[in-house]
Symmetry: C2
Subunit: 381 residues, 2 copies
């Protein structure tokens, strides 16, 4: 028996409390049984999003929420400013182009965060830009973009919408939707929120709703206006994924018990411990600045293939982390500390990594990474 | 404690075997753990669909599959022939219009099935029609449209695509995708397939794939070509709803053990017993011809509100059936026998109905409906 550990940046482990709640018999989505469930989920998401806006709940992967964020608020030919610093930034560009938006990209070197002043200048240079698209955490590089700073800049810029893919950042980072002027913030279920894949979320500001009225693109499944009308009646437009929404309530209950500040602090601590351990092993972080609390991206040592590290961790030690994507493939590996994660998930990852690297001929002192992680993990206890 | 019984035409009850499989810890969707799961699901769906075509698996409600069936194979201005005999026929029209198709509707009186010769004439009169859209089971009226006859007609008609919403008919009806020339057949998880909501399915014929190449509508989330490319690698385009696909395999395993012919015969028997019981109670079927095996639609007796019957069944006896939709609201109620359903689900529904109607002043002999159902349910044993 090879005992398994899921340490990928999504899907993430689901707590047993949530799995059990989802294993209960199905209830009907248009019934009085379900309406309080959806009402509670709706309120819980507002709490998690730190917003007075309604947060829509969609039956899709997170990408469905990204598509909806483009499809409901823009028109063919509208100008979009996309911050592209990795695979998911690139996805914003692809979605915008699929719907005929004119995309201007701010290319950010992989491993680095966007400079807010570059965005500020781009908006000044072209006031006709209708939307700024960014990731909070760019999962492919482990970088956190400064949503607070960007929000302040976009807010000053007339009716430009600020659209944030927070799929892998929610729960791991303090994201103040309203205070920072985020117009649309997209989330997904299989990341910090500790659920199986199958739900996307999107908060929508009043400014964005105003824009929605003038957006004439064809849409049917991801129709945010209809979803909002339904949500206010504690319904969804189409059949609700009832099990996932039941699970969502359980997961939010757990997060509420811990408290938002503690949730963020836990993620920050686990991320810090992981980085300290990796550096203590003589490795370099792939994330050159502004590392996220969700996932740590590490460069493979010279002469060792990052994919081999990922595969050996998985096959020999049962630890599912992640390799690199696209141009980072082979060069890096990634370890997540997202959602249902605690101190000993970090220890497991680092211990596995030590054994894998040692077996591959990399010179290290066994236990050195673990010791460095423990230094951090002890700090708050 | 009010013990609960779910007898709605979706969501339907999920067998305990499936609920338990879905409660297992999460596995990663891009991992070797998951690829055999998806491969098995893909093969199982082909078996269930009776097709050599690949059957795509989408993370959405069934409506997402309907949207994809329009969005991937047609262009703005294309002519669509929609058979509209209920709320879901109307949905085809709405989706086609949302994407700029020119819709010609064949209006069918609610409770009746389309006459195949009317479709034949419409196609002859206008050879530029690019697609014919229909429901196999129109859930709002309980009618089964003759997919075999329609398939033969559309097949003769050049490159017109035959698009079937089989969301509530799959599993309950023998639907021969290939033999009957169905180009795109849409399914959903929360009906006969005995899963929670959250998956849509779509089989796509070679003829439809050829058309796909010339379809230029904007699309990103429901991109069938990309889903197919991924499926052939035992992947999905975006994050797979892993728990639901694990459940799908369990459910298909149960159906395979029973055997397709037995599955269809069971549904036909339960439907026949339900109709016989209702008629024995002096009630009239709302479905005037071609009743489906999925759901039985019944007219409320004179002076009694159909919604009150639905509500009293639910609140007093714990039985969740369904009321009427749109113009049938108040006039009818519906009882499903779909998916994880057996003889005593019918008996429960009819017994509950007898007690409810009696308490509302309707004249009946308690047990008369149950006796009529038993006559049918005994036939094959």
């Amino acid at each position: 028996m090879l005992k398994r550990y899921l340490l990928a940046p999504g899907p993430t482990p689901v707590p047993p409390e949530v799995l059990l709640a989802m294993a209960m018999p199905i209830i009907h989505h248009r019934s009085a049984d379900f309406m309080p469930v959806l009402e509670s989920a709706r309120k819980g998401l507002k709490w998690l999003y730190q917003t007075e806006n309604d947060v829509l709940i969609l039956s899709s992967s997170g990408t469905g929420g990204m598509v909806g964020a483009v499809n409901n608020f823009f028109n063919h030919g509208d100008k979009a400013l996309v911050i592209n610093g990795g695979k998911f930034g690139e996805r914003w560009t692809k979605i915008c182009r699929a719907y005929g938006l004119e995309v201007k990209e701010i290319m950010v070197e992989w491993g680095y965060a966007v400079r807010p002043e570059v965005v500020e200048k781009a908006l000044k240079d072209d006031p006709s830009i209708k939307g700024v698209f960014v990731q909070a955490c760019e999962t492919s590089t482990g970088v956190y973009h400064d949503i607070e700073a960007l929000g302040k800049i976009v807010s000053k810029s007339g009716d430009t919408l600020f659209v944030v893919d927070a799929i892998s950042a929610l729960v791991a980072h303090d994201l103040k939707t309203d205070a920072w002027g985020v117009d649309i913030m997209v989330g997904g279920s299989q990341k910090g929120i500790m659920l199986p894949p199958g739900l996307a979320f999107a908060s929508v500001s009043e400014k964005a709703w105003k824009r929605n009225a003038s957006s004439k693109m064809p849409r049917f499944y991801f129709n945010f206006k209809k979803e909002r009308e339904n949500l206010l009646k504690n319904q969804t437009n189409f059949t609700s994924p009832v099990t996932l929404i039941i699970g969502l309530n359980e997961a939010i209950k757990m997060l509420q018990k811990e408290g938002l500040e503690n949730v963020f602090a836990r993620h920050a601590r686990l991320a810090k411990a992981t980085r300290a351990a990796v550096v203590a092993l003589g490795l370099s972080l792939y994330t050159k600045e502004s590392p996220s609390n969700s996932v740590t991206a590490v460069e493979a040592p010279a002469g060792i293939d990052g994919q081999e590290i990922y595969k050996t961790l998985r096959e020999k030690y049962g630890i599912t982390g992640a390799g690199g994507q696209d141009k980072a493939k082979g060069k890096i590996f990634r370890l997540a500390h997202l959602g249902y994660a605690g101190a000993f998930d970090v220890i497991t990852a680092i211990s596995g990594l030590e054994m894998v690297l040692k077996s591959m001929g990399y010179k290290l002192a066994l236990g050195a990474g673990v010791a460095a992680a423990e230094e951090i993990l002890m700090e708050d206890k």
